[in-house]
Symmetry: C2
Subunit: 335 residues, 2 copies
Amino acid sequence: MEKIISLAHGNGGKLTQELIRNIFLPYLNNPFLAPLADSAVFEVKGTKLAFTTDSYVIKPLFFPGGDIGKLSVSGTINDLAVVGAKPAFISCGFIIEEGVSISTLKKILLSIKKTAQQAGVDVATGDTKVVEKGSADGIFINTSGIGFIPPEMNLGLEKVKAGDYIIVNGTIGDHSVAVLSQREELGFDEAVNSDCAPLYDLVQKLKPYWESIKFMRDPTRGGIAGILNEIVQGKNFGVQLWEKNIPFREETITICEFLGMDPLYLANEGKILFFTEPEKTENILQIIQTHPLGKKAAIIGKVVANPSGKVYLKTSIGTKRIIDMLVEAQLPRIC
Amino acid sequence: MEKIISLAHGNGGKLTQELIRNIFLPYLNNPFLAPLADSAVFEVKGTKLAFTTDSYVIKPLFFPGGDIGKLSVSGTINDLAVVGAKPAFISCGFIIEEGVSISTLKKILLSIKKTAQQAGVDVATGDTKVVEKGSADGIFINTSGIGFIPPEMNLGLEKVKAGDYIIVNGTIGDHSVAVLSQREELGFDEAVNSDCAPLYDLVQKLKPYWESIKFMRDPTRGGIAGILNEIVQGKNFGVQLWEKNIPFREETITICEFLGMDPLYLANEGKILFFTEPEKTENILQIIQTHPLGKKAAIIGKVVANPSGKVYLKTSIGTKRIIDMLVEAQLPRIC
């Protein structure tokens, strides 16, 4: 274990996992935190509630397709959505660097307002701290969220087994590429819009098939490669991905080739990985594809018995490649 | 309104109020946020839940009597406690500057663990972000919290009326002075311990008198002067404080005199202002004084009909002085 915190501890890869499992969990372990799910779940008089938190330190604050306001609301809504919870309340905790303009703050607030309204959630509570110039980088936002899990929703990683399929609701890596293209030092001309969006509405549309959806995760930091590795770690199953089925934008491939990055590790902010029963997978895919946020949805892989605990890619030319968890940071400050 | 964010926007005084009321509320207003209470309250099948959030950017991370870990758990527990909620779950969102040592992080985690255990809450969910060196200042922590309000608890600012008394559970300003004494540039020899502590246990002890407690607030940022001004703003009542009754440590007075600061505006992290029915005020005071966190409790003032909307101090020499809300920051990064 490294003796100091490095950027790679925050990239959603191996060091992030080590930090959480070896440093955080030994101190904070309890039955609610232990599953390390996107949200903790607890009951009030038989009603299941979900509770989640996320801090957003994205740079720049504004990017094609979104800004830190839209991102911070969407991200927390999605962490609730993937445990099956209908988002109800969010909190907003702002840490603002002295010197930020009020007009910047207003743009972000407008974006928070719009995204919350669109998703039907209330910003129920908030907090603002101001730190000296140089002690933060513009604006950081923490959003925590509370949602209600409908009784018909019964997700569980323990239900996943060999033969299940994995659907994603559209192109991969758009968020990272959108942010990357705005970093001054790179200055790409092509603008890819971030996929940043609240996704509970899509989950809601799938209600007729909820019992055939076994598990969901949003592939944010670490990308689909990082998240799938987290999922299979220590399990008696693995995941096989079909390269030719994974939806990408052409611009994403171009930029990734130019920078030597692997799009499988790029963050998404409007995507869900659905683990589905084989018999109903086609029906689920069709419903997702009729939703505005699922037009390019595809079945990208399946759960396999061997090799267990691993993610591997069947490439377009027919070879197999193990997709490991990332060690070095590909791109910091992406969410 | 200022066109840029200044440190004074974060000090809990006039500019903080303007920022919240004129910038944040117009965008985010809803029935849960509008009361601007320490926590939002909502119901699940007749059970009242409270939800709150707070970010901690304190500098230095360690100070006499506490650290950012103890502070971030206590502060959020207290925001729940003052709306009468028994704290149940908290979230921890860490923003860590690259280069922070793992041993520093471990010390803070141990402190979070101890404080949470002492208060009987679980850290149910968490998040960690890492930013580049120079993009934050060590460690920032956001904690959000969920608590359950017992049916016997019925607090409401609308219940407060002229004749009610105000109790505080001990000496004022200790937290600010503890932090201040650690700032390198000042280098005081005397160490005052911060009062930083979780307070629900004290509220719990008062159960026999809950119906006689009308309202509670924790006088953190802005101190008792700032918080009381917030409370009386626009109301048909005011507050009269008795200077001779307000409990202070001698060291606090010494340091405040030296620095030209007014202790009434200093932050507390282990104090509650209780608004009580006159008939039961003495009984409530006695119970508070038997609690380890209430030994120096005192009745420091009362609610008056005139002047309404103001806080004034009856000084030791018998004169009256209006205690207004603070404009300039006395001390940034105190919580």
